[in-house]
Symmetry: C2
Subunit: 124 residues, 2 copies
């Protein structure tokens, strides 16, 4: 009786800049979790991402932008802790606005694409 | 003297539907090349993609949409040949319009992000 409700399509954006610099959904979500948890390792865990990969992405973002996006004290008393800088908050905010504007602008055509999909809900 | 000219950022879109169905830049470009070359293998070659992967993506798209996007005669006299169906042309056109609308809507914020990047052009 309960038909599985079709969820809205998700739009994932990657922005490719010069010199192989890239900003995408993984980095944006990592920034968001760092802002929420105050910790790079906790942010990584929330995304099922290894500590090593979370650190690598943070270092990549810090090298890519003029100002660092995340400051952190690795280890030490109190176990480190990390937070978004003003630049980090600005980059996250811009990325989220880009996502929202793109999804809004494309919504009608994405709905048309969705209408062309095969109906999978009746598959055994 | 010749400073490397900074190229415009590129926006790459992936649309995630229910049931793990996905439409992204690789599939769209493959459709475009099949339309241009009339051949799945030639389209794959133009993208440095293996014949096997090109076929797999075509089969994935044909299974994902209600109507097939690509029809083909594998092998045989004349070496097969493939072409986009009406549905294939419609999906490609919608995807390209989604790309264009998203890039236009997000252009100002992408430019702001770009302004925050470190200037890499003076790196040795």
């Amino acid at each position: 009786m309960a038909e599985p409700v079709s969820t809205a399509p998700q739009l994932r954006l990657r922005i490719l800049f010069d010199h192989a610099a890239m900003m995408g959904p993984g980095k944006a979500m990592l920034l968001q979790h760092i802002g929420q948890t105050g910790s790079i390792s906790a942010a990584g865990r929330a995304m099922s991402m290894s500590y090593k990969r979370a650190w690598m992405l943070v270092e990549e973002m810090n090298a890519m932008f003029r100002d660092p996006l995340v400051t952190s004290a690795r280890g030490g008393q109190g176990g480190g802790g990390a937070h978004l800088t003003e630049a980090g908050q600005a980059v996250l905010g811009l990325y989220q606005r880009i996502e929202m504007l793109a999804a809004t602008a494309a919504a009608a055509d994405i709905a048309l694409l969705q209408l062309m999909l095969r109906d999978m809900s009746d598959k055994k």
